[in-house]
Symmetry: C2
Subunit: 96 residues, 2 copies
């Protein structure tokens, strides 16, 4: 299934910038960056649970925000893009 | 249906900052800001078409990026939030 991950990490302090790098790195390992803090990940339920736990452990819940949107397996018709940097193919599938 | 709108607007130039304000304002008029550049909007198909066209007209497609994700009507189970600023109720419905 396609899982959309969006995040806002508070980078006012150096610790926040460190968290941001870690969160972004973890997401890059599992999916496709489509915008600055927006990732699209093709994951099964188990992978999703693991990634969600990992990301949750990386943020400061008092300062940062993570959102997960499950778009299921039939996601192609649900995603539209306008403008620069069209999404790359995830696994040979064109995302829109 | 719930439509998720995410955007990256290039703000290197003053014109970009102006575009960003306009895009954000238009989204605020139609939905709930849940993260910096992430909005959740409850729209019917006609409203969605109008908003998409309006936002498309506001950005510079060579510099900026808009993404639309249609989560349908049964979105509650598809959205998860971790951390600060939990989403506010859209229309009396708790989003997670």
């Amino acid at each position: 299934m396609l899982v959309l991950i969006t995040y806002d990490v508070n980078t006012e302090a150096p610790a926040g910038r460190k968290r941001l790098r870690k969160v972004a790195k973890r997401c890059v390992d599992h999916g496709q960056r489509v915008q600055n803090s927006v990732f699209e990940c093709l994951l099964d339920a188990a992978q999703y649970a693991v990634l969600k736990a990992e990301l949750t452990s990386l943020i400061d819940p008092a300062l940062d925000s993570l959102r997960f949107y499950q778009l299921g397996n039939n996601y192609k018709s649900k995603v539209e893009h306008v403008g620069v940097h069209p999404p790359f193919e995830q696994d040979g599938l064109l995302l829109f």
